[in-house]
Amino acid sequence: EAAVTQSPRNKVAVTGGKVTLSCNQTNNHNNMYWYRQDTGHGLRLIHYSYGAGSTEKGDIPDGYKASRPSQENFSLILELATPSQTSVYFCASGDNGGQDTQYFGPGTRLLVL
């Protein structure tokens, strides 16, 4: 069964603190994605990756870093969290050069105080 898991599922952070969101996929997909979802904006792409060792900037990368140490794992890092980064974050995996289904994880709710 295809699976994308995320941890933690919920996180409360303080302004200026470091936050790491983790994603693991067992689909053996080359491509992985990090989105944030806010009311009125739909899903916006933060960073994505073509495979282990690669990271690419998405449409809203400012304030975020990403790391893809292996085929299965893709992390999103907020070095200095700000209240504007309060959101729901989704990880997804996909293949076929982005022209096929993306499978989403359950999401992480992040609150930055």
């Binding site: 739909g42 792409l45 982005g98 022209q99 993306q102 989403f104 359950p106 999401g107």
Partner: protein
């Protein structure tokens, strides 16, 4: 710049009616258009997708109509059911190999019994 636009923002229909959700895009290199649906507190999941080689794609009660000349597409849900109540996202992916989707802001559909 929002490259994929959806309308209406929200839509309410009665059970049994046909719901019509609209999507338009700007980038002529987009050539894969998936629709995702998302139930409250769940993650998005693929509902149906179309490639411009055809102007219609059907899957049960869900049909995509595609107009390449006008850069518009629509999702028709016939015999709408309360269980169809969800947020529907139109997305687009380019054939230029940048491996990513652009999502619209979504249409929130409510089906009243």
């Amino acid at each position: 710049q929002q490259q994929v636009r959806q309308s209406p923002q929200s839509l309410t229909v009665w059970e049994g009616e046909t719901a019509i959700l609209n999507c338009s895009y700007e980038d002529s290199t987009f050539d894969y258009f998936p629709w995702y649906w998302q139930f409250p507190r769940e993650s998005p999941a693929l509902l149906i997708a179309i490639r411009p080689v055809s102007n219609k794609k059907e899957d049960g009660r869900f049909t995509i109509f595609f107009n390449k000349r006008e850069k518009k597409l629509s999702l028709h849900i016939t015999d709408s059911q309360p269980g169809d109540s969800a947020t529907y996202f139109c997305a687009a992916s380019s054939n230029t190999g940048n491996y990513k989707y652009v999502f619209g802001a979504g249409t929130r559909l409510k089906v009243i019994a």
